[in-house]
Structures are given as structure tokens and as C-alpha cells.
């Protein structure tokens, strides 16, 4: 009997016993659904983390010179205290480093704190107050929706002008144009000159509740002690230039701070890679746990299929006897039952792939997670399904093949 014949027979059997086959394939179905679904979620998280999370917090090919890392996970208390004792990054440090870098870069100062913004008696609380220099908008890729960003002159002069985040503008001005209106931050008046395009949110936190003013404007007093910035942001053109820039920065800072060769740096340089460390740790756990769960589902699925196949062999003993009396060889019977179990498993896997893809599309539409189904996961799903079918089918099929035709024919 040809393999094709065996598969056709297997499909006929599958359709004839829909309910039983449905139960048989459910384990593989769940396993493969989970495989495709979780793979696409991890994929999506990866994209999200590398492109959005890290990009938003740090920027591509960009590093931040800071006193200490600001995005960190599982840092112990003593480290934290040591970080707090480090000297701050001063205007003079930022100026010297920006001037001393020999590679093409754009730089900006950056300081932030939380505070309230007021307009005409309306108060928006818990707003990120940001003091920056003019290139900040370019570096962070902030597009201006209305108005304009502040200029180099305004930045240098410390003009009392602000650019608002989208949500903040909505909240204070509800529909009317905020341009040229005067908002007050801690009693000081600032003229609104621009609104930044909506940024959306990151892990549920709005990215649009901020106000940006020149670093040298009076906002300086709200965010940092005099002459101090949180960070110098340096954007380079390539990863290689970023490494070079970081080396140069480290050398300059060490010399400015008179650090001896064996002393540790008392400043930090943050890159998106650093931010991604956390995600990498998490995804490593997912990569370890995910396959385990898939494996469990597939093993259970395999056992179910094996049981169903053993039942089928017992029920169809007479059929096997008939087939043998008509000239079926052992390998014909073996192939028939193997084809049946593989067909059950592969059909289960196919449904699982469908469900996994559906799940991923649903996530894509309903959440900001860019879940994408990887073709490799589909291939793996089919292969695993087929593999489970073979492994689960071998024993029942070989039992069927070894049946004595006389005994088999006698069975009712």
C-alpha cells in the first residue's frame, strides 16, 4: 500500500470518528497553539523592547552620561547608596565632554523632575518637568505637532518658553490652541511655543505628560541644584562610533575627576543595551520555561494519541484480520496505523497553528504588542506534531502489524 493510500485512509477514519479524533488531537492542538502563540508574544516583546522601550528611554546609537544608571533592576541598597554619594554631572562636565568628542555627534543636556503645571486656574499634577538643550527634540525623535521647538538662542539665553507633551496640552487647553498662552510652573510664567506629537504609552504609562523648557531657564531650579544636569545625551551615527564616543567620554571624565587607574568610574554611561539587559534576563526565563510547557503539552498529547490508537487497534482487530487475509503485509498495517496517528497529530498541529496565528493577530489588534508569528515556529509546529504522531503511533501500529490473522479474524 502506498503512503498516499494510507494517508487517504487515515483521513477517512478521522472524519468517520470526529469526536474521538477531536479528543485525540486536543493535546497536540494545545501544545502547538501555545508554541505559536508564546513564540509570537516573545517575538513581539522583543520588537517592543528593542525598538520602543529602549529607543524611548535611551535612543538608538545613543548613550547617556549620568551619575548612575537610571534604568536598573535588582540593585542592592549598598550599591544604591554608593551611587548616591557620587559627584553629580555638572554643566562644565557636559560642556567639556561635548566639546572634546572627536566623532560626529549631537548632544543635549537633560534634567527632569516631577511637578505641576498651571494654566488659567487649571492644574496638571505629576508632570515630568524637563530641562534640556535644543537638540533634545532631534535626538529623541520628538516631532512637533503644533508650533515649534525652542531654538539654540532661546536655549542659550534660558528663555522662558516651553514645549508641551500631547496629553498635557489636551488637559490644560482642551481643544483650544495652546500656542503663545502662558503657563505657570512653580510660580514662574512660560510661553508655550510648541506641542509634541502624541507618543502613546509604554507599558501602560503615558509618554505625553511632560513639559520641556530650556535647561538654563528658571526650570533649572525645579529639577536640579545649580550647575548640575541629570545627563548629557550623546547621539552618534553608528554602534561603532557610539563605542568610540563612550571610550572618549570615559577618558575625559576620569581625567576631569582625577581618578587613579585602579579607581572605578564614579559616573555611568547608559545605552539601550543596558536597558535591554533586564529584558534579556526576562526573555531568557521565557525561553527556558516556554519549551518546557510546550513539551509537557506534547507529551500529554502523545500519550492521548497512543491510547486512542491502542483502542483503535483493539476495536479494529477484525478489520486488521480481514486486511491481512486479503494480502496486507505487516508493513502495510504498520503504515496504515502510523499514518493514522501522524494524521491525527498533524491535523491537531494545523489547528494549533491556526489558533496560534489567530491569537497573535488578536494581540496585535487589541494591544500595543507587535506580536508576529515567526515562520520557523510554524515549521517547528508541523514537525513536532508529526514527530509526536510517529512516536505515539509506533507501538500501537506495531502491535496491529504483529497480530495473527486467524486470531484477528475470530474476534467479534
Amino acid at each position: 500500500m502506498h503512503a498516499l493510500e494510507a494517508i487517504r485512509l487515515a483521513f477517512r477514519q478521522l472524519v468517520a470518528q470526529k469526536l474521538k479524533s477531536g479528543f485525540a488531537l486536543i493535546g497536540v492542538f494545545i501544545g502547538v497553539t501555545f508554541l505559536i502563540g508564546s513564540w509570537s508574544i516573545v517575538n513581539g516583546m522583543n520588537t517592543y523592547m528593542t525598538e520602543k522601550f529602549a529607543g524611548t528611554l535611551v535612543g538608538v546609537n545613543t548613550f547617556h552620561l549620568r551619575r548612575a544608571p537610571n534604568v536598573n533592576f535588582d540593585v542592592d541598597d549598598s550599591t544604591w547608596r554608593a551611587w548616591r554619594r557620587r559627584p553629580r554631572i555638572r554643566f562644565t562636565d557636559a560642556e567639556a565632554v561635548a566639546a572634546g568628542l572627536t566623532i560626529p555627534v549631537i548632544t543635549a543636556w537633560y534634567s527632569e523632575d516631577r511637578g505641576a503645571v498651571e494654566y488659567n486656574g487649571r492644574m496638571a499634577k505629576d508632570i515630568t518637568l524637563e530641562g534640556t538643550t535644543e537638540r533634545y527634540f532631534d535626538i529623541m525623535n520628538l516631532k512637533i505637532d503644533q508650533g515649534r521647538p525652542f531654538s539654540a538662542q532661546e536655549s542659550k539665553a534660558g528663555a522662558t518658553v516651553v514645549v508641551l507633551g500631547h496629553d498635557l496640552a489636551e488637559k490644560l487647553f482642551t481643544g483650544t490652541s495652546p500656542i503663545n498662552r502662558i503657563v505657570r510652573i512653580h510660580g514662574i510664567s512660560y510661553r508655550v511655543i510648541g506641542v509634541v506629537e502624541r507618543q502613546g504609552n509604554l507599558l501602560g504609562i503615558s509618554l505625553d505628560k511632560f513639559v520641556v523648557a530650556p535647561a538654563l531657564s528658571p526650570i533649572q531650579r525645579e529639577v536640579n541644584p545649580p550647575g548640575v544636569v541629570d545627563a548629557l545625551i550623546v547621539k552618534t551615527n553608528s554602534p561603532a562610533e557610539m563605542r568610540e564616543g563612550m571610550d572618549q567620554t570615559e577618558a575625559m571624565m576620569r581625567s576631569r575627576r582625577h581618578l587613579r587607574p585602579r579607581q572605578e568610574d564614579n559616573f555611568a554611561m547608559m545605552t539601550s543595551e543596558g536597558v535591554l539587559d533586564f529584558w534579556n534576563k526576562l526573555s531568557r526565563i521565557l525561553y527556558a520555561v516556554g519549551p518546557g510547557l510546550v513539551l509537557i503539552a506534547l507529551v500529554v498529547g502523545g500519550i492521548v494519541i497512543m491510547n486512542i490508537m491502542l483502542m483503535a487497534v483493539a476495536e479494529r482487530t477484525r478489520e486488521i484480520g480481514i486486511r491481512k487475509s486479503l494480502g496486507a503485509r505487516r508493513r502495510d498495517i504498520l503504515r496504515q496505523f502510523l499514518a493514522e496517528s501522524v494524521t491525527i497529530a498533524v491535523v491537531g498541529a494545523a489547528f494549533g497553528i491556526g489558533a496560534g496565528v489567530f491569537l497573535s493577530v488578536l494581540l496585535n489588534v487589541a494591544t500595543p504588542l507587535p506580536a508576529t508569528v515567526s515562520p520557523a515556529s510554524i515549521l517547528l509546529g508541523v514537525l513536532l506534531g508529526g514527530g509526536v504522531g510517529v512516536v505515539a503511533g509506533v507501538y500501537p501500529a506495531s502491535r496491529a502489524a504483529r497480530l495473527d490473522p486467524i486470531v484477528a479474524l475470530r474476534q467479534e
Partner: protein
Amino acid sequence: MSRAQEFHTGDMPQPDIVILTHKLSRDYDMGSEVVRALRGVDLQIRRNEYVAVMGPSGSGKSTLMNLIGCLDTPTAGEYWLNGQQVSELADDDLARIRNKEIGFVFQTFNLLPRASALHNVELPLIYAGMASRARHDQAVSALTRVGLGDRMEHKPNELSGGQRQRVAIARALVNNPSILLADEPTGNLDSTTGQEIMGVFAELHRQGQTIVMVTHEADIAAHAARVVTLRDGLIATDQQKAA
């Protein structure tokens, strides 16, 4: 008709001998005792003979049937089918012999219940590795030959007992086997239908088919030209009906 030639181990059967058994025996090891179902049966059947094998239950006729049908192998002795000694063959070779040389007709029909009459008849051709077009045609002509050309798509449970047995006969004949081996072919049929099936057998015999039929009913055995009676694992009588 003259009695068959004396056969000795080491001989080859005469060319017109389809079935030859020599000192054929089959023991069943039942643990505490050995049941000797056949104790050395010598039987020769020529091409185009129509032989009925009779005997009370326990006489060994089912065992002989299984051995002739290559479903079982003897404990001792020789079995030659169509000039080939099959008593020594392995499992897969026996399957091939069953497929090519033997057509079974069973008391309980033994059709696949979920398959159409046509598919049932196609089965031996599938195992013979025939291409689907050719085997369809051949199965159709076999069904037409037994008068079921208009029932080919019916499932067994949509057919009467007589029709089912006709499907089984079509299936047995579809590969043009050397022998048609029937085990109580009328056992599950009423006497009218039984006579009908015997009519089919007579027609096949007239067309040159060799038929071996196991039965315990004397009036069914009477349709055969030769009646072999078994008792206690040995041939008791072997009577040729006067032509």
C-alpha cells in the same frame, strides 16, 4: 477419475495439481497438552476441481482451511500451492500468496463495514500495488460479474446477506486467484439465498475456477464434485461424484 499420483518428500507436484499436502500436520501447544489438530493429511487437488471439505467440529477442517489459505503454517509436512512450496515461507511472503493466489469467502462475509462495496473489492488490488484507475476498473468488472454492478457504492449494511456474500465473492475473485477458498459460505444465509450463492459457485466452477469449500451441511457439500471428509485430523473419506 484416477486417484492422484503417489507423492514422496523431495518430489515436485504434477503441473495440473493446484494444492498438494504431504503428511501435513498442525499441533497446538496448549501449555499442559499438545492438541494434534491435523495428523498428516495427504491431499491433492487439481485445477478446476470443486471440492467440499466436511467433518464434525474438531475434525480439523478449520485448521486445514487456515493452512491451505496460508493464514497459518504447518508444524510438519509439506504444502505445495501451484508448484511452490509455501509451508516454509515467511510472513510477508505468505501475505503475498494470500493476495495473489487465494480468494477467501467467509461465513460472516468479513467486509469492512464503513467501506463501500467497491472499496471492499478494491482492497486486494490495493495491497497488490495496483494503480487506482486500473483497480477501479477491475473491481467494477468483478462486481458486475456477481450481478452487483448497480450496488457498488452501497455500504455492507445497506445490502442483503446474499448481496454481501456476492461482494465477498467479487473481492475473492478480483485478483484472479488460483483457488477460491470458502468457509461455510452459506452458514449465515437462508436456504434460498444459500442456493443462489451455490449457483454462483457452480457458474464460477464452469468458468474454470478451482474451489475448495468447507462446510458441515451435506446438501451444500452435494454441490461439489468431490467431497473430502475429515475425522480426528485425518482424511476419512475422499469421494468423487460420478460425472
